[in-house]
Point group: D2
Chain length 155, copies 4
């Protein structure tokens, strides 16, 4: 019997301005300090920032890539899964987490929010999509706090 | 060289009240009359109604199922693809169409809208999700009309 | 209630010499004459030849592509499903058929044979993989005959 | 920049007699001692044994499940990815590794061998499938040794 790592998905676009990147790093760091690993789509932008924030705090990071080349992963992923499945990897990113934090994001992130909600997982959203069923938060502390509370309540 | 069937995705929940079902049948019928086949997730509710509307007009219908058992398909699918891929089949449903019409719908439909927009396909929404990038329509005629216009413009 | 098309998967490589192409065309034609549609991976080589053979006999043809661009399909596919899922589309090709005929083929075909056998579907092999559980046939008539007999017995 | 874990896929059936299980544990242990993590399909039999062998040596273990319930994973997986994608997860298991060791195995394992070879990855086979392109080995030491040599040569 080994200790199983608990993961939260951090979802968002592959490019991010400094404001979004700072939020994503903070989300990753807060999750790591609370004992959660981070799973992302493994590329740049919000995904890289969340992994960086988590790994800076000694947290575990997993990247699930759309392509088959592991070299496409950002340098902050401890484990990389290349899938070659394109957008279908979006579903895997949210399937791997107990819940999700969206940081900004466009259509790909919307697909991930839909998949997470469909699977009954809580989703917190920062600076991005506000759709029914999602917890809208004003800053990383509120997003992570609300998500972990929702998980504790559902657990 | 054979004639290739053009398909539009009709997306929505596996259960539907009579109002939604009537809308979905009408969407299917209108698409068939305009020469388009219909692709859905192959189950009941909005999916079955859209296939029924299309096949009543002599249109082509394709169902892409989440499970591996073709017997789960509604009786109005001319071609059935069982996938065993669960929610990942949502991506396939929108990938198979040139554009999508959402009729009502919950989280699964939201994932399909996200995947369609990510792939650059036009999406019209009836009685359901109103998110950035989607054409909101008041009735089936408006939804189908706006979608086909968007396709013609992008083509 | 509409009539449902019955499909057989024809699997093999995207390039084929004239001998393999002739076998694949013949397999497609025989299936069409027996009332079966053909589903392939939608590209060239064995896939295109099987679709050509079937459509020349008025049969139905479905192509399930690894990429997202429907223009990559061979000209003999009546219905095209672009997936963007890369090799994962191999599973879909065999899931869509009641059984499979392999014509030649390399590693991708081997993955398809494995998926078909795992799903409990009969597989006939011509001029290619001979692995446990597969019906080895000497010519297209024998392959199609043995496959349809196996299907009738299991049905 | 974080240290990236290198993974080898260990593939085989969900049930295993003691002889196969002992081989799989040994494969997992040898990989861990050589600094490689182990990725499997996350269930029992060969998959559980390989994870157990690796984790007993302090190695990293990843399980990629066919279903959506993480509780289905064997107790030796440090990270679990539930996919809900059924057999399509077979592709992910081999995509996540730099190469694969097959221990026994039936049709599902054959699909994994096909996917690995298609992706250009070396595969060693113990007590199971002997197909073109696979390195057949007589014991775990030979299998792991030959696989790591093939990886070093291709790297």
């Amino acid at each position: 019997m080994v200790e199983r790592r608990r993961l939260i998905s951090v979802i968002g676009a592959g490019t991010a301005d400094e404001s979004l990147a700072a939020m994503a790093r903070r989300v990753g760091a807060l999750l790591a300090r609370r004992g959660w690993g981070v799973v992302t789509g493994g590329l740049g932008g919000v995904m890289a920032a969340a992994c960086q924030g988590a790994s800076d705090q000694g947290g575990f990071t997993l990247g699930i890539l759309p392509g088959m080349d592991p070299a496409a992963a950002n340098p902050f992923c401890q484990v990389v899964i290349p899938t070659g499945m394109g957008q279908a990897r979006n579903l895997l990113v949210v399937a791997a987490g107990a819940g999700a934090v969206a940081v900004g994001g466009a259509a790909g992130t919307l697909s991930e929010i839909g998949h997470a909600l469909k699977a009954g997982k809580p989703v917190a959203s920062l600076a991005g999509w506000q759709v029914a069923g999602v917890i809208t938060a004003g800053d990383p502390e509120a997003a992570v706090g609300a998500l972990l509370t929702a998980l504790a309540d559902s657990g």
